[in-house]
Symmetry: C2
DNA sequence: GAGGTTGCTG
DNA sequence: CAGCAACCTC
């Protein structure tokens, strides 16, 4: 089974790139983040024409997640509320969608960025702690968590860990929140195959970051112990296309 | 001598199209309208690299005219004031630039559109009447008036004159104002060679107007009797490029 | 730097 | 439908 996660930074702007990429990659499931579109405005046709089913949790301008699945998914839900109950407006931003595929509970996330302002940073930490409770509640099932976590878990996940020590996406509290998830028994399949640094999933649009490989690994898979990864890799090629997303896809074979 | 007029609807957005077109057309002078950029922000390099001199009268966001000349121009001036004196703020909008090329006084215009609101319509008529005084004052010289006049002089200059009878760009007062110019002794060289309808220079971006050739001929040359046109034609080909201007160039050989 | 928004002009 | 501006987010 082949699953990918990709923050596309607007599905409407990236539509041709995503469908072209999907045609050349035989995915069972594609998890999208930052679709930036309401469900009514989502471009459904190009995906249904490729034989995919769509499950959407979008809003206009910001955030938005989607599941693009070859087979129909079951038990699809959005946000924390279906598992944890109402969380004081935390689901107002569309950042979580989940569905069951062949017994695997796939949870597709867009973690708040948390930059520019302590309010947003606190919101991110609160969101990550709520995610911890959410995952704990579903761990009886086989869980595949994936998406844009906006956290580089370790120094080897940043091109220049010294310069960016303590920077948002690399602070101790963020890494601890992610560590608390791992402590529930989740593993990072990418690091089971690729221990060295230099592999990233996001490069700032500014200052020629991609050309100089000044990236961050902030898009991840996390698997519960029921699941055994066969392969996990990043596809940086799409970052070279004209008008790319700032993120590239990560693929997982189960 | 080969002269062209082209409303490019933003020189920054159309820069590659304009320079590419200029490379394949051996113009002596290119008259641009709706450059939509201040003189400081105008992309000068691409034109100087092609061996052209630039004379600019721009502003940010709206309007803006430019002369792009193979040879240096002399006696360049902007607006009505240098000829008529201050006209009560009529030169605040950058719509007129003129220069002398081999004894020909070329006047490059962007006439107000005049749509959506009687105030704007009145402004357009006032502007056209002021232009009449301006032309009258310079008619001792050989005059080549050109640009976006935002007026279809006759019914044969509209794809559907019945449906658009009395529409802005085809009202009697606008046509009379243009007629008053002609009465000073100016002639339309395009109509000396091409009497039939179906030749347009502008198509609305909306409703597939170009595909259906639902256009208007609103970009013109007008020549004083000193000047004899060898040829005058429209080049609609650039309207088929991706992200085209809504106007196409008109060319005049003298 | 590159997405998105609203509001304006054409 | 396609420019612009100003503003927001990442």
């Amino acid at each position: 089974m082949l699953i990918a996660t990709w923050n596309v930074n607007s599905i409407r702007t990236r539509l041709d790139q995503v469908t072209t990429w999907l045609e050349s990659h035989p995915l069972d499931l594609l998890c999208l983040q930052e679709t930036k579109v309401s469900d009514e405005e989502f471009p459904r046709k190009p995906f249904s024409q490729l034989g995919y089913h769509l499950y959407l949790s979008g809003q206009k301008s910001y955030n938005g997640v989607a599941l693009v699945s070859r087979e129909p998914l079951t038990e699809v839900s959005c946000g924390f509320a279906p598992v944890l109950g109402e969380q004081g407006g935390l689901d107002d931003q569309k950042r979580l969608i989940t569905g069951l595929l062949r017994g695997v509970r796939v949870v597709n996330l867009y973690v708040p960025n948390g930059g520019s302002g302590s309010e947003k940073y606190e919101y991110k930490l609160h969101w990550l702690h709520t995610l911890g409770k959410y995952v704990k509640s579903i761990l009886a099932e086989a869980v595949c968590l994936c998406g844009d976590f906006n956290v580089a878990p370790e120094d080897r996940d940043i091109h220049d860990p010294v310069a960016y020590a303590g920077h948002v996406m690399a602070t101790v509290p963020e890494r601890q929140a992610l560590g608390a998830l791992m402590a529930l028994g989740l593993k990072d399949p990418f690091r089971e195959f690729t221990p060295e640094s230099g592999h990233y999933t996001w490069w700032d649009y500014r200052a020629g970051s991609f050309r100089r490989n000044r990236g961050w690994r902030i898009d991840h898979f996390y698997l519960s112990s029921h699941l055994v990864p066969k392969q996990c890799w990043i596809d940086p090629s799409v970052r070279e296309l004209p008008r790319p997303s700032d993120h590239v896809p990560v693929l997982l074979e189960l």
